[in-house]
Amino acid sequence: MTDPLPWLVVLPLAWASVAFLLGPGRGAVLAAFGVALQCALAFELAARVQAAGALRYAVGGWGSPLGIDWYVDGLAVLMLGLTQVVALPLLLYARSYFGHAGAAGRYFWPLAGFLIGGMNALFVSADLFNLYVTLEIVGLAAVGLVAAGGGAAQLAAALRYLFATLLGSGAFLLGVALIYGACGTVSIELLGPLLAGEAPRAVYVAVVLMSVGLFLKTALFPFHYWLPPAHGGAAVPVSALLSALVIKASFYLLLRLWLDIFAPLVQPLAWLPAVLGSAAILWGSWQAVRAEHLKLLVAWSTVAQIGYLFLAFPLLATQAAALDAVVFQTVSHALAKAAMFAATGVVIHVTGNDTVAGVAGVAQRLPLTLFAFALAGVTLMGLPPSGGFLAKWLLIDAALAEGAWPLVLVVLLGGLLAAWYVFRVLRQAFLLAPPTEVAVRAPRLMEWSALLLAAASVALGVRGIELARLIAPVGAS
């Protein structure tokens, strides 16, 4: 078999362009086949990385510093796999969803293709300028998806998201320019030794700019202001893609930089993301508890769950389990949040009501979808045996070993608040329904893809060892 790596970048770009060629609203089948093939390629790549260790690939054959390099280690391959695996059921879901949503789906398929292609390119790139270009593809495609076919409120949310994402990538680009000015290269491999020694002032400014830019794109508290309206207002498959994957792409880049070339410079600042993350967990969960609209509740829950990703930052240098916790949180949240948005979409479609109060009676009408929502909730709350439980367990373990008990408190409190907002919905769902009017049938495909994603997020807790083994080389280095 040929090298799967270049195809993972080329294939989504190709099917996205062809979907646009075919015309508005076309390309769903093409997209599904494309992503299914990408899943197979990602697994093949994972097998290769596990067998032979991290891979380096010189695009154009030049190699850094003249050309652009790709670098694929366990962490990169994990993100590649996660993206394709979550995207596949979501695209099947979207096919059914946009079947009856008209104008909103006209350019969904090409935009989704560029979004996935951009993320794949981001995960493998080892060149700071190239990473900026991939950030732009992902950001603009995400904004286009949020804005598509919406009313005034949705356009306003998309515009706010556009400003946030452009400011984020602008700050990142300014940082890249400063680093190039100071070091004369944008290759991450060559920058490692250059930044380890005495770095000029410009590099410190660059590190701050790039980190803040990525905080903004990842929606870390207090930069989360754009997320609830954007994720709460978009079409359901778009909300799911954005909440599950897009914010993880900028987070992955931040993690990669902080673990690798920025590590010697940011060590004294490592507590800062943890403080912001704690605030995100408490504030985001509280807003989810108070939310009136179902999709806003799920979107605020994303703000809270992002917080957990940052809690582990002060522990990364000393505790190997901290990185495992971050990875498990990334994967389990991606699966659970995709499932939760998907289930929410089915509920809204059937009840025609997007408020939490409107969920009443869903337990009788949509038992399968409610089960999916509850399973996803189990992961978000961190109950055993889910992937979320494993992530929080590892995090608490690492925090206790370090004596960082405030982090433990935040994790426990966050779990309680998550239980509050999940049970708010479940309790409402078991209330007796008001006398129903004409019953809308739930599309099978939508119900089952939600359940599949939710089940995967719980099952992750049982089969977590494989993932841990995949990223082991990163933790060791």
């Binding site: 560029f114 951009g118 400014v205």
Partner: protein, 218 residues
């Protein structure tokens, strides 16, 4: 009050940036010597084109994707059915001028495309001139605004990107993605640039013409 705070913050930020720039070390060798050393293998003789289309051609591929995504986003928020018809007001002087300028702009565009191999120029510049020609013709009411893109327009807009992608994939056989054989690099780069000129011209013109409501009868 709020304005003042923003102003102070901006001034502080500018000060920090200037401080950082003043502290930069003297420019070392950097990348230019490497580019010069490899020029012979790049297939072109102008260093900017060599970097854009060969050494860092993959960046350019993704940048074209960024432009495509921008246009897709614009199309996605466009109201679906707009009646676009030639308007009434006509400026005879402007129209005559635009008629005279249009062929010249096409010639300049093609020249820029060809010149890119050896001196400043290339697909992006050529496309910008061609797109400006289309905008000029539109403002002179010679060209109506575009509504939803028809098949020929969609083909034109994505064609250049697909050619670029196809070349990148075809070169996989010889080693890596976008690894040109030095003997054929010049020809392949010209092929890619020609495709990109057409597509980018339509794309850049589209960013204006899909949004415009000029010429719409109210």
């Amino acid at each position: 009050m709020r304005r003042g705070a923003v102003g102070v913050a901006a001034l502080l930020f500018a000060g920090v940036l200037i401080g950082a720039l003043l502290g930069l070390p003297a420019p070392g060798a950097g990348l230019p010597p490497l580019v010069t050393a490899q020029m012979g293998n790049s297939g072109v003789t102008h260093p900017v084109t060599a970097v854009l289309l060969n050494f860092r051609g993959y960046d350019t591929l993704l940048e074209v994707a960024v432009l495509l995504v921008a246009l897709l986003g614009l199309l996605a928020v466009q109201r679906s059915e707009r009646a676009v018809a030639p308007g009434a007001a006509v400026e005879p002087v402007l129209q005559t001028l635009a008629r005279r300028a249009a062929p010249l702009m096409v010639v300049v565009g093609v020249y820029l495309l060809w010149a890119g191999a050896s001196r400043p120029g290339g697909a992006f510049q050529a496309a910008a001139v061609l797109a400006a020609g289309a905008v000029l013709a539109h403002l002179a009411r010679l060209l109506p605004a575009w509504s939803a893109p028809r098949a020929w327009l969609r083909t034109g807009i994505t064609g250049g990107f697909l050619v670029f992608l196809a070349v990148a994939v075809a070169l996989l056989g010889g080693g890596a993605l976008l690894q040109y054989p030095p003997a054929h690099a010049g020809l392949l780069i010209l092929l890619i640039e020609a495709g990109l000129t057409v597509s980018l011209a339509l794309l850049l013109a589209g960013l204006f013409l899909f949004l415009s409501e000029e010429g719409t009868r109210r």
